[in-house]
């Protein structure tokens, strides 16, 4: 049996005297499409940083793809939480993606013909091949998100982490990002973990949920979590989980 994508056993994180969360015990199975939800400031980004090996937990055991987390693991891709890139950042889309391929290697130069082909394939996969030579700062928010996904797609991914990928996006762009995640999920068999404050874009594709409630990350099945009661507690305000006639769900 292969190890789960992520396993936390009684993990806690403390910055100085402040405990962000504690008693985190959960598993994200291989091949899951998992949403990570919780109020703002509840420590979702912190949780991703632990998975990435950038932060060591104060207490507890963490396993990622069957091993302790380590930085620079190329089987893990990250689309980080951010605003838009600086609009005068003078670097082309293809250069940014190329850095995902060779940016960690010492030395000079932009990559060989094979690298360039891989970059163009990744750009094509996210529908940005026509924008390969544009300065990244001139791309729209949605295009920039797709660019970061292209960068994450360069390697054979086993785990793709996305931190608030839908921030500042319109519905059409949300759909495109979700469609991309689905194809990575399906065709590469990668595990997807998406942090989002808005569940609606992924409501009908996720099969697993990790949520941070009362300073404790926990896991739940869709049926447990996506109920009016749990969601209302989670968001701290009354919300309704509704099921449409065709079986699809939405929250408002």
């Amino acid at each position: 049996m292969t190890a789960p994508a992520v396993r936390f056993a009684d993990v806690a994180v403390t910055f100085g005297r402040r405990t962000i969360w504690r008693e985190a015990t959960f598993t994200i199975p291989r091949g899951a499409f998992c949403a990570l939800i919780g109020p703002s400031g509840s420590g979702k980004t912190t949780l991703l940083r632990i998975i990435l090996g950038e932060l060591r937990p104060s207490v507890g055991r963490v396993e990622v793809l069957g091993a302790p987390p380590r930085r620079g693991n190329r089987a893990i891709g990250l689309v980080p939480q951010r605003g838009v890139l600086l609009d005068d950042l003078a670097i082309r889309a293809r250069d940014l993606v190329m850095l995902g391929l060779n940016g960690h290697r010492w030395g000079f130069g932009g990559g060989n013909a094979d690298d360039r082909r891989r970059v163009e394939r990744a750009l094509d996969a996210v529908g940005l091949l026509d924008y390969a030579d544009e300065p990244v700062g001139t791309l729209s928010g949605g295009q920039q998100q797709r660019l970061f996904i292209a960068q994450a797609l360069l390697d054979r991914l086993e785990l793709l982490l996305l931190d608030e990928p839908f921030a500042n996006l319109d519905v059409k762009n949300e759909h495109e990002i979700v469609a991309l995640c689905r194809s990575v999920h399906r065709e590469q068999g990668a595990t997807i973990v998406v942090v989002t404050h808005d569940l609606n874009p992924v409501l009908n594709v996720i099969d697993h949920v990790v949520y941070v409630l009362d300073g404790r990350p926990r896991e739940g099945s869709i049926d447990e979590v996506l109920t009016t009661e749990t969601l209302s507690r989670l968001y701290g305000t009354p919300v309704q989980a509704l099921r449409a006639a065709d079986g699809s769900m939405f929250i408002r």
Binding site: G72, L78, P80, A90, L99, G107, D124, S183, E187
Partner: protein
């Protein structure tokens, strides 16, 4: 023309051309990252801190460049330790800068050995470079270019996207501090050419001009070097023809190139620039719902 070539038999002019060219190459190359990383203020601060290092060294009877390197490298490590948070960093740099510049003034006031030197430290003295200084400049310049070449890719990654670079195993902070140390050394050697007050003309202006012209990193860096070298050469030629200080002409040429580019070329992000680079704008394609059949395989995968 013969007149100019004939001048080359004079040592002081040969030294000026050699040292000026070396400094222009290093400053132009490092400048690319100064602009990309928004380090103009840090560069400015390093130059001023260098002034105090230089005057302190003269006061103590030590080597001027050695004094500058010591002061600026220490400052570079301090600035690097502050991290990448722009706002907090600039306030901290400014605070230390004010104190260290005051220290420089103290050194100037405490010694008579500095008479006349202070001006040349501030504004450069390209026509008074010794053979020994040329060698020091060449060694430090070659070293800086070599190290920059070695850290180029991780530095570029850390400059444009520190969050992802860190997850990909780039030692982001270390690379940043390494770059600041290179910057400190370059600022220290360029003091002879343009002085601490005018170093911007070689470190920031050419790179800013280049980044307006292209978003291709390699080309932008090369253009920045070309602009810096042209500024120094043209400045020297003008200084031979007209008896004004070369530092003035170098800054003037560098500024003129900048003005010309700003005037003639729209900035990269503007609609005019975009449509001129892409004559027929293709419709944007939606993201495909499937990935290409042939997937790249990673060495790890």
């Amino acid at each position: 023309m013969d007149h100019l070539v004939g001048l080359f038999q004079y040592d002081f002019l040969r030294h000026a051309v050699l040292a000026g060219t070396i400094v222009a190459i290093t400053a132009g190359a490092l400048g690319y990252f100064v602009v990309l990383r928004q380090l103009s203020f840090a560069a400015h601060a390093l130059a001023h801190i260098g002034f105090s290092g230089a005057t302190g060294a003269v006061w103590l009877g030590l080597n001027l460049v050695a004094g500058m390197v010591a002061f600026t490298v220490a400052a570079a490590i301090g600035i690097g330790a502050l991290g990448d948070r722009l706002r907090g960093r600039d306030v901290a740099i400014g605070t230390v800068l004010a104190f260290v510049t005051g220290l420089g003034y103290l050194f100037v006031s405490q010694t008579t050995r500095l008479a006349g030197r202070a001006t040349s430290i501030l504004f450069g003295d390209l026509l008074a470079i010794s053979a020994e200084s040329v060698v020091v400049t060449a060694v430090l310049g070659a070293l800086s270019v070599l190290v920059l070449g070695a850290i180029y890719r991780p530095l570029l990654f850390a400059s444009v996207d520190p969050a992802v670079a860190a997850t990909r195993g780039v030692p982001v902070r270390l690379v940043g501090i390494g770059f600041l140390i290179l910057l400190a050394i370059t600022v220290s050697t360029s003091v002879q050419v343009v002085g601490v007050l005018l170093i911007f003309a070689l470190l920031v202006t050419p790179a800013a001009t280049a980044q307006r012209l292209t978003a291709h990193p390699g080309r932008s860096l090369a253009l920045s070097v070309v602009f810096a070298v042209v500024s120094v050469w043209a400045g020297l030629v003008l200084a031979v023809l007209i008896p004004w200080p070369p530092s003035f002409f170098i800054t003037a040429v560098s500024f003129a190139i900048y003005l010309l580019v700003v005037w003639r070329v729209p900035s990269l992000g503007s609609p005019i620039a975009r449509s001129s680079r892409r004559t027929v704008k293709p419709p944007s394609r939606p993201a495909r719902d499937s990935l290409p059949a042939e997937r790249p395989t990673s060495p790890l995968g």
